[in-house]
Symmetry: C2
């Protein structure tokens, strides 16, 4: 197995999609499609949509008032509860339209400003930029980024300054996720609802896991499960997790249950680790693009900065492949951070990588660890996708498998059941650390980020069932991931869109630079917004701290119907967007 | 119902227990009993115990080395796993002995220093003083309180300064709780194990709840439960909670599910509320004695100070009963805080009170709310024990039941299923706020303090079953609470120990001043340590921020056998302690 094949190679040729107009965009929102068609010819298209949306809003508000009048007469017979619900649904519709308008105004303003202010990211999971900035103003007292006066008009006098920041942050970051939650696509009941290919969840094996979790052995309950227990997690679960990780990570000696800490997800673990390993203002290095939640999670409670080790798509210097992490790049980032008087306490690695999906070879890992030891740095390794390596050609090597770790006391591994078993709803993440003091200091976080004992019990039973894991779950999960990936790969290849996937993870990292003109973060944001307007959520590269504009992350571990509709919308948006750009260019050049 | 009866009256006469020597202390640890007997005559008794413990430690260490030698030969046949476990158990024993020694040294040192330094509190749940101090040094850079050099020797060079503080804080605060977790009393298997009458849990109805939770309707699982959902909590649960609170809190109009937020316990809710209502350094007023977790929870993440409104046992001025909260006291505390340039943002009320167990009348509540409105203060009301009012004479009035709230937008109610349903293991707390912005800002905390959907589902089913709640659970729970309370009350009356309980909650607030000579916090800590040495955990008044030394909080919602053994140990410790004091006094006066 060559190192380059494993660690993030770009597939498919460079896109040339000027003439690309997929015919199969039956999944796109018909009303929005009409709107999008109308605005093609005009350079003022954004404002035109705005106008239309304002009209639509006016209708909704009128409807609302009519409904209120009707309700006053009907409520006696219908009951208050139902009226309240109907009224809430109307409110939601209004809120959604308002936020779409705000986003459009924002995009347009930024465009006019020629990108002089940082662009807030409305990625559905976690906006690093906006969130980080909004939250860092708690300390610096700098002016906070705002969506605009419309937003400010909603601001509260009852919340603290910090509370207002959190409120705004939530609005910026989770807005599209909330819209999805209340307006999910359903084949028959809501064919115009959102398709979410942004939130990283494995929805391919929900049937298998549900079947296993409803077997009779899962419903046991002893009284101890109802009481407070060990803040590090139930001892029986930690024992099983130690043995599970020993087996699947191929640890040379049995792992110690006392070094296992269970909290309610990997973000809580990462945030708590940042708290015990770093002081406020300290920094951790992280190769980017990286999992979008980490920069926020290191900052929200712990006030630890993530310093990017920027990786680029272009193969230069001693690189063998795109987005390659080398010790030289780590060294450069560390030197630069020190120059800026940053106190770097560690390195964060994600393996299998998110969003690049490559896996580090043992040789590479060793080099990074030796570098870390030399500079007395902690190494936090997120191995969330260790069981989601679906191509036999990709060989995942856990850091726990390495025999003579350079500095075991400084190495901490995170694993989250959400991804590998598709059970995000369990809210359960795991830390394995070789450092007993770290494990001990992490205990207190169980008080604030503890997991329901019922979930701990069920996971314990699940992990015990090696027969099911090895013979049922893993083979089916891998084959379904492979199938979904192939489906998406085929479409991307047809569209000549370059992308990265190395046979692991639940997502593909795609290059849409050919659809941006000019290729800027501003244009990336506008394209992102187009997807969202067509009820398709995918993540922008900016939310992954990618240094180059034009990249997106698309989750394919979605059931086939949703994936199909999502990819139809994807193709449709790209075709429309491309056409709009071409027309604009023609107008500008007077052709 | 008179106001004074409801809000915390002291029962039983003042103690005169010089001659009190209960004969029924069969539950006390025999080895420790022997040790305690031996040291009676000497004024250097603490050091004598220390010497004995050192000898005991030496034996354990010798055993450990012998065992290691044996293990090296046996491991091949026994398997590594078992050897590791045996070795860990030895380590635990050593750790426990070490910590007992450290505590003794500490008590003695403090005694000699005549209380010049603040005493660290080793309450089993949350040490306010020590915790708060340890944690506040993150910001102030002041020297941190330490247990001593022995502790410092354990300190790590891999943790950050903040991490070391957290590590030390955990050690100080949860040490006895951890000891209890690994060495619980069991009638046959571990009769010398710990009895925990400190952690506030209702263990009287575990049988009823277990039976209900294992009925067939509880094991349903749809795929949605396995995925990410609404960060505020599952909509179906929030809907049910709104209707549940409307009913049991007697709200004049139906409560809105959109104003309900579900996080993984009431401490997480309190911490998050402090974060959105206050900026770092702001303050909240809280009448003390108060629930020991709150001062820590407001500080750990949110850096909000709780300013005590000190209540005293003595009835003075316009007071009608002990520990009475009046608007004058609130005013005084607010004025004083303002003088000290503290930015007070709200008031925290606990109703039914913890640890006083009184319930506020509607008239009192109204007065506090009017005061809060006048000064533009938020009011956070913790109604955790609202369904645990077991005496018909006590009438609980939820703040949600008040028709014309002075300033609804500033009122936020916390309820935790742990206490009223005895299901701490669910890790589920609830916020109801009239303020939509607060509810919205709280959403982001669902990302770090979310609850397993499986637990949310089960709670939903449980709350739906009003027939079971009203006809089975509540009547039995109340009658069992009443019985357990009566049992404890009888013993306290026999010992002539004054105490407070007004027919609600799971605990009794007891006055052991007669057992302290002199009556100082130092002596309170020494008595606390005596209980712990006899494997009985009860909480000291200092951990509840009580201004007067000598008070303790004892949880009676424990099953009868454990409660009996616990109370036997309690009587035994008091008798021994009293005798020791008398002898010491005789020695001093030369009689």
């Amino acid at each position: 197995m060559s190192e380059s094949r494993n660690e993030g190679s770009s597939q498919a040729a460079k896109a040339d999609s000027n003439t690309q107009t997929p015919s199969n965009w039956k999944g796109a929102h018909p009303k929005l499609r009409d709107q999008l068609k109308k605005k093609k010819k005009s350079s003022k298209k954004v404002f035109k949509i705005l106008q239309e949306k304002m009209l639509k809003l006016q209708h909704v508000v009128t409807d609302q008032f009519l409904q209120w009048t009707n309700q006053q007469m009907q409520c006696l017979s219908l009951g208050d509860q139902q009226c309240t619900r109907a009224s809430r649904n109307q409110e939601k519709k209004m809120g959604h339209l308002l936020s779409q308008i705000v986003n459009l105004v924002w995009s347009n303003t930024v465009r006019k400003l020629k990108f002089q202010v940082p662009l807030p990211c409305s990625d559905s999971r976690c906006a690093i930029k906006a969130g980080h900035q909004a939250l860092s103003s708690w300390q610096t007292g700098q002016p906070r980024p705002r969506l605009g006066d419309l937003e400010a008009a909603f601001a509260s006098c009852t919340l603290s300054k910090r509370g207002t920041d959190i409120y705004e942050f939530y609005h910026l970051s989770f807005q599209s996720y909330d819209a999805y939650q209340t307006d999910k696509y359903h084949k028959d009941e809501n064919p115009l609802g959102y398709i979410n290919l942004s939130t990283i969840e494995n929805k391919l094996c929900l049937d298998l896991v549900t079947a296993r979790l409803t077997q009779s052995d899962m419903n046991c309950l002893d009284e101890a499960q109802l009481q407070y227990s060990d803040w590090k997690g139930q001892p029986f679960l930690r024992e099983e997790l130690a043995s599970f990780l020993t087996h699947y990570c191929k640890a040379p000696t049995p792992l110690d249950p006392e070094n296992v800490v269970v909290l309610n997800n990997c973000s809580s673990i990462f945030s708590s680790l940042a708290m015990v390993l770093c002081d406020p203002g300290d920094a951790l290095l992280i190769p980017t693009p990286c999992y979008s939640s980490f920069p926020f999670s290191s900052y929200f409670y712990s006030k630890v900065e993530l310093v990017p080790v920027y990786l680029e798509s272009q193969v230069t210097g001693t690189d063998s492949y795109s987005f390659q992490l080398t010790v030289d790049k780590l060294k450069l980032a560390l030197t630069q951070a020190k120059k800026e008087a940053k106190n770097v306490k560690g390195i964060v690695l994600i393996n299998p990588q998110n969003p690049l999906s490559g896996v580090y070879t043992q040789l590479s890992l060793q080099k990074y660890l030796v570098f870390a030891k030399k500079h007395k740095l902690h190494v936090i390794v997120d191995e969330n996708y260790m069981l989601s390596v679906f191509e036999p050609s990709a060989t995942f090597q856990s850091v726990l498998s390495i025999k003579d770790l350079p500095d075991p006391n400084m190495i901490h591994i995170i694993w989250d059941t959400s991804k590998d078993f598709g059970i995000s709803g369990f809210r359960l993440g795991v830390l394995y650390t070789h450092n007993k003091e770290v494990a001990s200091a992490m205990k207190v976080f169980g008080y604030y980020h503890g997991v329901s004992d019922i979930a701990q019990y069920k996971l314990w039973r699940l992990l015990q069932d090696k027969e099911w894991i090895n013979k049922v779950y893993l083979p089916k999960n891998h084959s379904r991931l492979r199938k979904a990936y192939s489906y998406v790969m085929k479409i991307l290849e047809d569209l000549k869109i370059p992308f990265c996937n190395c046979g692991s993870g639940l997502f593909v990292w795609i290059n849409l630079k050919a659809y941006l003109s000019p290729c800027t973060f501003e244009q990336e944001q506008i394209l992102y917004q187009r997807f969202q307007d067509n009820k398709l959520l995918i993540s922008s590269g900016q939310s992954y701290k990618c240094i180059e504009p034009g990249w997106f992350c698309l989750v394919f571990a979605e059931n086939h119907l949703q994936l199909q509709v999502g990819m139809d919308r994807f193709c449709h948006v790209l075709a429309e967007h491309k056409q709009g750009i071409t027309e604009e260019q023609e107008q500008t050049t007077g052709t």
